[in-house]
C-alpha cells in the first residue's frame, strides 16, 4: 500500500497485554444488538479510563475483538471478547472498573490473561436454554423427538442479502426438555440445547422454526432464549471453558514430557 496517506506524528503505542473477557447480556438489555454492545463497551472503556490500545490510521479504533455475536433479543451468560492494552493491568481491577462503568445488565463475568491460541479456536459450540411460556412439557418433548428423528430440517431465514436456507437439525448435538422451575402460572417448558457453530450460524430462532415445521409446535407467547455457555465440545459431550487454563497446562506437560 505504498503511497497511501498516513497521519502525521507518532503511531499509537503498541499492545503490551491481551485480556480475555467473558460477559453477560441480561434482563431487558438482552434487546441490545451486537453493535449496541460494542458502542456501550467502548464508552465504558473511556469512562473507566482503561489504557486501551488503538489501531493506527486516520480513524483509530480501540483494540477489541469479538468471538461471534449474540442475536438481538437473546440473553447470554457467556459471550467472549479480547482486548489489547497499551499498559499492563491487573485483570481483577479491570473487571471491577469496567463492570462498574457498564450499564447494569451488560455485566463482566470473568477476565483472564490471554493464553496460547486464539479465542476463536477455543469455541465451537453453544449451550442454549429456551423458555417457552404456556407450552406443556409433554408437547415439547414429543416435538423434540420428531425433530431429532430426522436427519435434516431446512428452515428459511431472512438475511440482509435475501432469504437463506439453513439446516436447523444438523448443528444440534444434544437436546433436553424440562419444566421451568420458575414458572408461576401456567406451564412453561424449557428447551436445553447444545448446538455446534456452523456457517451460516444456527440460532435458537431457527431451531424453533424447525420444531414448528417438523412437529407443528405452537408458541402462544414469545420464547425467551439464553446462551448459557460457549466453548469446545469434548469427546464426552461436555463444553470446555474457553478461559480455563487447563489447555495451556496440558500443553506445557506435553512439552515437558517430550524433553
Amino acid at each position: 500500500m505504498s503511497g497511501k496517506r498516513q497521519p502525521e506524528g507518532e503511531p499509537p503505542p503498541p499492545v503490551v497485554q491481551r485480556l480475555r473477557v467473558r460477559y453477560a447480556k441480561r434482563g431487558r438489555l438482552r434487546f441490545t444488538s451486537h453493535r449496541d454492545f460494542a458502542r456501550a463497551l467502548e464508552r465504558a472503556i473511556r469512562r473507566a479510563k482503561v489504557p486501551i490500545a488503538y489501531s493506527a490510521g486516520f480513524s483509530p479504533h480501540p483494540k477489541v475483538s469479538y468471538v461471534g455475536a449474540c442475536p438481538t433479543g437473546v440473553a447470554s451468560e457467556a459471550e467472549y471478547l479480547e482486548i489489547g492494552l497499551a499498559e499492563s493491568v491487573e485483570p481483577q481491577r479491570l473487571l471491577a472498573a469496567l463492570d462498574a462503568s457498564l450499564p447494569v445488565g451488560l455485566d463482566l463475568v470473568e477476565v483472564v490473561e490471554a493464553q496460547e491460541g486464539s479465542l476463536a479456536e477455543r469455541i465451537n459450540c453453544s449451550r442454549w436454554e429456551i423458555a417457552l411460556p404456556r407450552v406443556p412439557v409433554a408437547t415439547l418433548t414429543a416435538a423434540v423427538q420428531r425433530f431429532m428423528a430426522v436427519s435434516e430440517v431446512p428452515v428459511e431465514r431472512l438475511t440482509k442479502s435475501g432469504t437463506r436456507t439453513v439446516d436447523a437439525r444438523g448443528a444440534v448435538v444434544r437436546v433436553d426438555t424440562r419444566p421451568n422451575r420458575d414458572a408461576v402460572e401456567g406451564e412453561c417448558a424449557t428447551l436445553e440445547l447444545v448446538v455446534r457453530h456452523v456457517t451460516p450460524a444456527v440460532r435458537p430462532d431457527d431451531i424453533l422454526t424447525g420444531l414448528q415445521s417438523v412437529a407443528d409446535l405452537e408458541l402462544p407467547e414469545a420464547p425467551r432464549a439464553t446462551r448459557l455457555a460457549q466453548g469446545l465440545l469434548d469427546a464426552t459431550g461436555q463444553i470446555a471453558d474457553p478461559l480455563s487454563t487447563i489447555h495451556a497446562a496440558a500443553r506445557q506437560q506435553t512439552s515437558r514430557s517430550g524433553n
Binding site: 438489555l29 434487546f31 441490545t32 444488538s33 464508552r43 469512562r47 479510563k49 480513524s59 433479543g73 462498574a100
Partner: protein, 661 residues
C-alpha cells in the same frame, strides 16, 4: 395514585419489532424517580423516532433541569415506529415513557419540543395512543396539559386545536415557573380545573394558551384580527430568554443511549443566538440576542460531558460557532487538553473563511479529524446579498484552497433553492462554483484526489423572518432548477465526477411551508392527513405528498383558501399574520424594511460589530448582546491523564462548580 409500569406488557411485543432497544430505556445518566414523592409529573416528548429524539439538546436540558427539583419528576417519550404502534393498539398498550414505562396519560404535563413542523402528525399519534382526546377542548381535569415548545412553537397556530399551551423561546427557566404554577394548583386541590390552571399560566405572560384568543377572518380568507376572549390575558405573549448561559451548564450529564442515534457525540452549546442576520434563518432571528458561554464554562462542560458519557467526540454547538469572540483560545485550549486522547472535537462550520479551516485543524490535534462544511446558501453573489449571506466567490475559493492544502480531501457545500428573487441562472452558478472548488483543490494538492459535495434543498419561508412575506417557490420550479443544476455539474465529466450532488425534491417543502406559515384552519388539514395515515413526515419513506394534498382538498375549500394560498402567495405589508400576537422581540416594521432591502439586493451588517440597527429585540425584551472577550483562560486542570489506570470509574460525572455570580 399508583402508576404501574407498562413494561411487562410491552416486553412481550419487543421481539417482534425493529430495533427493540430504543423502547427499553435504562440509558446511562437517565433518571427514574418515585412517582408518589413528587407533586408535578412531566412527560417530555420529542415527536420523532428515538434515534433522532434522544440526542436533542432541548429535551436533555429540560429533563435534567426538571429532575433536579425535589418536587418534580420528568420522563421522556418518543414517537413509536408504525410496527410497534400496530402491536400496541392490538394489545391495548398506551404511549409510554422510556424511563419508567409509565403511561403518558398519567402525567400532569406533556411537553413536546418541535424542532420542525413535520412532527405534528406524530403528536397526534402519541395523543391517540395515550388514550387522550386529540383536541384540547375535550380533555378533562385529570389529563395532562399538552405544552408545545421549540422553534416551531413560534407559530403554534396550526396545532392550536391539539395543544393546551405553547412556550416561546428558552425553556430552562420557563419549565421551572410552569412547575411552580402547576404544582401550587395541584397542592391546592386543582381548584377551577383545567381552565383555571391554564388561566394562571396565561397570566404569567410567558405561556400562550390558544383557547383564550379568538381569530376572526376577512371575506378573502386573510385574518382580520386575533384578540383575547378573556380579561386579564395579555394581548401579546412574549418569548423567554435565558441570559446567563454560565448559570445553566446543562446537560451536565448527557444521556448515553444503547441504541444507535443520529448524533453519536456529546454537545456543548458555546453560545446562543446569532446576529449575522441571514434573512432565511428563523433560528437566527428568534434566538437573538447573542449570549456567549464563557471560555471557562465551555472547558468545564466539555470535560464534564466526556467523563460522564465516554463519548469520543464533542461538538461545539451554536448557530455559527466560529463567531464566538474567543473561539481561537477555546480551540487551542481544548486541543492542548485532549491531544493524544483519541477525542474528537468538532465545530459545525458554516462560515466561509480560512479562519474556520485553521480552527478545524487545531481541533483535530485530538486525533480525529471531522469533516468541513461551508454554507454559501445562494449560488450567485447577487442572491447572497438578497439573503444577507455575504460570501464572495473569491472567499470560497480561498477557503477551500486552505482546506485542501491543510490535508482535507473533501469539503461539503450547502445551498438552498427557491430563495426569493432567484432565477435559473442563480442556481446554475452553483455548478460553476463547485467546479472552481475542484480546480482549486487539484491545484493546491497536485493530485486529482479531491472531492466536494453539493447539498441543496428547497427553501421554506418561516415566521418571524424578513422572508415571512415571501412567496414560496413551486415544487416544480425547485425540481426543474435542481435537475438543470445536476446536468450542469455533470456537463464536464473530468470535474463532475469529483462533485457529489445531494438534493431533496420540492414537494415535502411545500407541506412544511403550509405547516410553518399556516393558521388555525390548517389544524383540520393536519388531522385529516393523520387520519389517512400521515406519520413520520420528516422521513421520505413515510411522507406522502398526495395524502397531504388530498387532506387540503378535503378541508380548505370550506374556508375559501388553498394549499397554494398558504405557500406560494406573497403577503402584503398590512396583512395580519397568524403569529403577529406572538412576540419574538423582532419589530415587524424592521422585518418589513429588511424584506424590502432584500428585494433591493441590499445587505445588512452584523450588530455585534456595527451600531444597532433597531431590530427591536434588546430594548423590547430587556436583553442585550453578551459577547467577550472575557480575558479569562480555560482551566487546564480538569482532565485526568490517561497514563494512570484508576479504579475510580464511578458512573457519576464530576460535580461542576455552581453557577457563576
Amino acid at each position: 395514585m399508583t402508576v404501574q409500569s407498562l413494561f411487562p406488557q410491552l416486553e412481550a411485543l419487543l421481539p417482534r419489532v425493529q430495533k427493540p432497544i430504543q423502547y427499553v430505556g435504562g440509558e446511562l445518566n437517565s433518571t427514574v424517580k418515585d412517582w408518589d414523592a413528587v407533586d408535578v409529573h412531566w412527560a417530555l416528548m420529542y415527536p420523532d423516532a428515538y434515534e433522532v429524539g434522544l440526542p436533542n439538546q432541548g429535551i436533555q436540558i429540560l429533563y435534567e433541569v426538571l429532575n433536579e427539583r425535589a418536587d418534580v419528576l420528568a420522563e421522556r417519550t418518543y414517537a413509536v415506529w408504525p410496527d410497534l404502534e400496530k402491536l400496541m393498539r392490538e394489545a391495548g398498550i398506551g404511549q409510554f415513557t422510556v424511563d419508567a414505562h409509565r403511561p403518558v396519560a398519567a402525567f400532569d404535563l406533556l411537553g413536546v419540543s418541535f424542532s420542525t413542523e413535520l412532527g405534528y402528525t406524530n403528536l397526534l399519534s402519541a395523543l391517540d395512543l395515550a388514550g387522550l382526546p386529540l383536541e384540547s377542548r375535550y380533555r378533562t381535569d385529570g389529563q395532562p396539559i399538552v405544552l408545545a415548545g421549540g422553534h416551531a412553537a413560534f407559530n403554534p397556530e396550526p396545532i392550536a386545536d391539539f395543544i393546551d399551551a405553547a412556550v416561546l423561546g428558552d425553556g430552562e427557566e420557563a419549565v421551572g415557573e410552569i412547575s411552580d404554577v402547576v404544582g401550587e394548583w395541584i397542592r391546592q386541590g386543582r381548584p377551577g380545573g383545567r381552565d383555571e390552571v391554564l388561566l394562571r399560566l396565561a397570566r404569567t405572560e410567558a405561556v400562550y394558551v390558544p383557547r383564550f384568543y379568538d381569530v376572526d377572518y376577512l371575506p378573502d380568507g386573510r385574518i382580520r384580527r386575533v384578540v383575547p376572549n378573556r380579561a386579564d390575558v395579555p394581548f401579546r405573549v412574549h418569548k423567554r430568554t435565558t441570559m446567563d448561559l454560565d448559570a445553566w451548564p446543562y446537560p451536565k450529564q448527557p444521556l448515553v443511549p444503547l441504541a444507535e442515534t443520529v448524533h453519536e457525540r456529546a454537545s456543548v452549546e458555546i453560545f446562543r443566538g446569532c446576529t449575522r442576520g441571514c434573512r432565511f434563518c428563523q433560528a437566527g432571528m428568534i434566538t437573538r440576542p447573542v449570549r456567549e458561554r464563557s471560555i471557562t464554562g465551555i472547558g468545564e462542560m466539555v470535560e464534564a460531558s466526556l467523563s460522564a458519557t465516554g463519548f469520543e467526540e464533542v461538538g461545539l454547538l451554536s448557530l455559527s460557532s466560529a463567531d464566538h469572540s474567543e473561539i481561537g483560545d477555546i480551540a487551542k485550549g481544548l486541543a492542548d487538553q485532549y491531544e493524544g486522547t483519541q477525542t474528537g472535537l468538532s465545530l459545525p462550520s458554516t462560515r466561509v473563511d480560512a479562519f474556520n479551516v485553521t480552527l478545524a485543524q487545531e481541533l483535530s490535534r485530538g486525533g480525529r479529524r471531522s469533516g468541513l462544511t461551508f454554507a454559501p446558501e445562494g449560488g450567485s453573489e447577487r442572491l447572497r446579498r438578497v439573503i444577507n449571506k455575504m460570501v464572495s466567490h473569491e472567499d470560497l475559493i480561498r477557503t477551500v484552497t486552505t482546506a485542501y492544502s491543510a490535508g482535507w480531501r473533501q469539503v461539503k457545500l450547502y445551498f438552498m433553492c427557491g430563495l426569493p428573487t432567484e432565477t435559473d441562472d442563480d442556481v446554475l452558478e452553483i455548478a460553476t462554483m463547485a467546479k472552481d472548488v475542484i480546480r482549486a483543490g487539484r491545484a493546491a494538492t497536485g493530485t486529482k484526489d479531491v472531492r466536494c459535495t453539493v447539498s441543496i434543498g428547497g427553501f421554506v419561508p418561516k415566521p418571524h423572518t424578513p422572508f415571512q412575506w415571501a412567496a414560496q417557490a413551486e415544487a416544480d420550479t425547485i425540481d426543474r432548477r435542481l435537475h438543470a443544476l445536476r446536468d450542469a455539474i455533470n456537463s464536464d465529466r473530468s470535474l463532475g465526477k469529483a462533485i457529489g450532488f445531494r438534493y431533496h425534491d420540492g414537494k415535502p417543502g411545500i407541506i412544511e411551508g403550509l405547516l410553518s406559515r399556516g393558521d388555525r384552519r390548517v389544524g383540520a388539514v393536519i388531522r385529516a392527513a393523520w387520519e389517512s395515515g400521515a406519520r413520520f413526515d420528516g422521513w421520505s419513506e413515510h411522507f406522502s405528498y398526495d395524502r397531504w394534498v388530498a387532506a387540503c382538498e378535503q378541508v380548505l375549500p370550506a374556508y375559501g383558501v388553498t394549499l397554494g394560498w398558504y405557500t406560494t402567495r406573497e403577503r402584503g405589508e398590512t396583512e395580519v399574520l397568524p403569529w403577529d400576537h406572538l412576540d419574538s422581540g423582532l419589530d415587524k416594521d424592521w422585518l418589513w424594511t429588511d424584506w424590502q432591502d432584500a428585494l433591493n439586493n441590499q445587505e445588512q451588517d452584523d450588530c455585534r460589530w456595527t451600531p444597532c440597527f433597531d431590530c427591536g429585540v434588546c430594548p423590547g425584551m430587556g436583553t442585550e448582546i453578551q459577547i467577550g472577550p472575557t480575558g479569562r483562560l480555560m482551566a487546564a486542570t480538569v482532565a485526568q491523564p490517561v497514563e494512570h489506570f484508576t479504579s475510580d470509574s464511578s458512573q457519576n460525572a464530576p460535580q461542576l462548580p455552581g453557577p457563576a455570580g
